[in-house]
Amino acid sequence: MISFDTVTKTYAKGTRPALDAVTLEVERGEFVFVVGQSGSGKSTLLRLAIREERATSGQVHVSGRDLRTLPDRKVPHLRREIGTVFQDFRLLPAKTVFENVAFALQVIGKSRAVIRQTVPETLRIVGLDGKEKRLPHQLSGGEQQRVAIARAIVNKPTILLADEPTGNLDPDTSRGIVALLERINRSGTTVVMATHDAGIVDNFRKRVVRLAEGKVVSDVGGGDYGASVGSVVPDTGMPGSGMPSGSDTPTRTMKLPRLGRRAPDQEAPPPVSEGTDEAGRHTE
């Protein structure tokens, strides 16, 4: 679904690359956490996948498209297959919940009939039915993020990219948001979520790809946040991380300089479970 082959991205000449020879494969239907400190390259990874940026070298393939050769005029079609969610929600303050979600369909030319049918459906999925007429400032942070998620999935994308979607939310709300992403994932959408929220990562037992200084330093299935001995410095003082970080379980990890194809991460344990021992799955 998404594949990076020795991708390097350098923003300005002479500076350290934001991504340094990253090779990564995300299969259809997978749920992947991308973790790492600020500046480790998480956002760059996501920006490359939607062609916000172009790789300096290496190849990026997303849903069968070679992004290096994809002409500019076809980029919108790529983005229609990818939903994106951000830390700052990015809602339009003057539009209602319904209008914010409908906007995503209007600007790609969907008919009013389609909009009238799809938007309420999507709002139901994210748990916002009954709040269609609210304005963003009348909603809590978690609800605003649900609007943003509704907007991201309303066109039924095959991939959902989330860049620190819980960065502005408290731990309970964060878990609710990630549980929603997990539900969306179960319906077949590939989800890649960049985060540095240890509590969330530990809770959901998904594949964890750790970046440090632009390099993949570990990649484990069903891992937790601390599952990354390879990382240089452990993150400290994560916002919203009210849970104990998983640094007491360092043994499950392996440093993976390069990773081949992986089997899709099928069933995840329910969010509340703790210390599943299914961890450590990985292939060379």
């Binding site: 079609h77 983005r79 030319g109």
Partner: protein, 302 residues
């Protein structure tokens, strides 16, 4: 992209950015009014040229007693010489259209008639006038044929072309109209810069919207059309007002006043305003589209 959606966004955009939209409207209006005046002045010159060149004559002044013309050598033209000139002129049709003989007395009378309100008429004496052939031409530009044939011929005092006098006037009028056009060129430059600034400012204030549009895969056309449309609508509104002002100027200023005050001159009319309207509206639209296109390429990353 649905039309109703585009129109709704367009109206919202213009409302939100009302002061900028108004300034684009006004600056476009003034620049297009000036440009229109310049173009109309140029058409006025053409109209007058058509009118006057039809009436313009070449005068062949003959010698009379006491003539000031050096070519006369102080001698009056003889009847033979006069007949010779007339015959020669008759043979030159065309380009000669008509030949009319005006005697010294007739010339004096006509002068007094024309300047009856002026003190000049009382001071003038018949001796200051001369017999002349008034020659009208099929093509006012061919006056050199007459000059080369008659200048210095026996009995001819001087060949004078009225067109030369008119041309001085027309040159002046041309300078005036070109100055107006040049001035309006500066105003058009102002309008273009203002449009660009407005678009840049709008693109900045709407970057959240355009970012979202980009992320959900809206096409470039969808993202850029509202900006282009806003600029086109504002500048078309401005030039529409300018055309209204020009219409009023010609209707009340030229047709209502000037052409009644100066009966013996041809003036432009409303048809001339109509003739330049499509050019101005088309030009403004092209300018607005080009300006927004260039500005968006720079300030709206897609």
């Amino acid at each position: 992209m649905k039309l109703s959606f585009v129109l709704g966004e367009l109206a919202a955009g213009l409302r939100r950015n009302l002061s900028m939209a108004v300034s684009v409207v006004l600056v476009t209006m003034i620049s297009m009014y000036l440009l229109g005046l310049g173009l109309l002045a140029a058409r006025q010159v053409d109209t007058m040229k058509d009118y006057w060149y039809d009436r313009v004559q070449v005068s062949i002044f003959l010698c009379v007693e006491g003539s000031q013309y050096p070519a006369c050598g102080g001698k009056a033209t003889t009847a033979d010489q006069r007949e010779q000139i007339r015959k020669q002129l008759e043979q030159m049709k065309p380009p000669v259209k008509d030949v009319y003989y005006e005697s010294q007395a007739e010339a004096f009378k006509r002068f007094k008639e024309q300047f009856k309100n002026s003190p000049l008429a009382e001071q003038a004496t018949e001796r200051a006038f001369a017999d002349s052939f008034r020659v009208s031409l099929t093509d006012a530009g061919r006056y050199d044929v007459i000059t080369s044939s008659f200048d210095g011929a026996p009995g001819v005092g001087r060949v004078q072309d009225q067109k030369l006098l008119l041309d001085k006037f027309f040159t002046f009028m041309n300078v005036v109209s070109w100055a107006a056009i040049a001035l309006s060129g500066l105003m058009v430059l102002c309008a273009v810069l203002l449009m660009a600034t407005t678009i840049r400012q709008t693109a900045f204030s709407r970057r959240r919207e355009t970012t979202i549009m980009r992320l959900v895969g809206a096409s470039n056309a969808t993202i850029q059309t509202p900006f282009v449309m806003e600029t086109v609508v504002a500048s078309l509104l401005g030039s529409g007002l300018a055309m209204g002002l020009l219409y009023a100027t010609v209707r009340y200023g030229v047709e209502g006043y000037l052409s009644r005050a100066l009966l013996d001159t041809a003036f432009i009319g409303l048809s001339d305003v109509l003739a330049i309207t499509p050019w101005i509206l088309g030009g403004v639209t092209a300018l607005a589209v080009l300006t927004s296109w260039f500005t968006l390429r720079r300030y709206l990353r897609v």
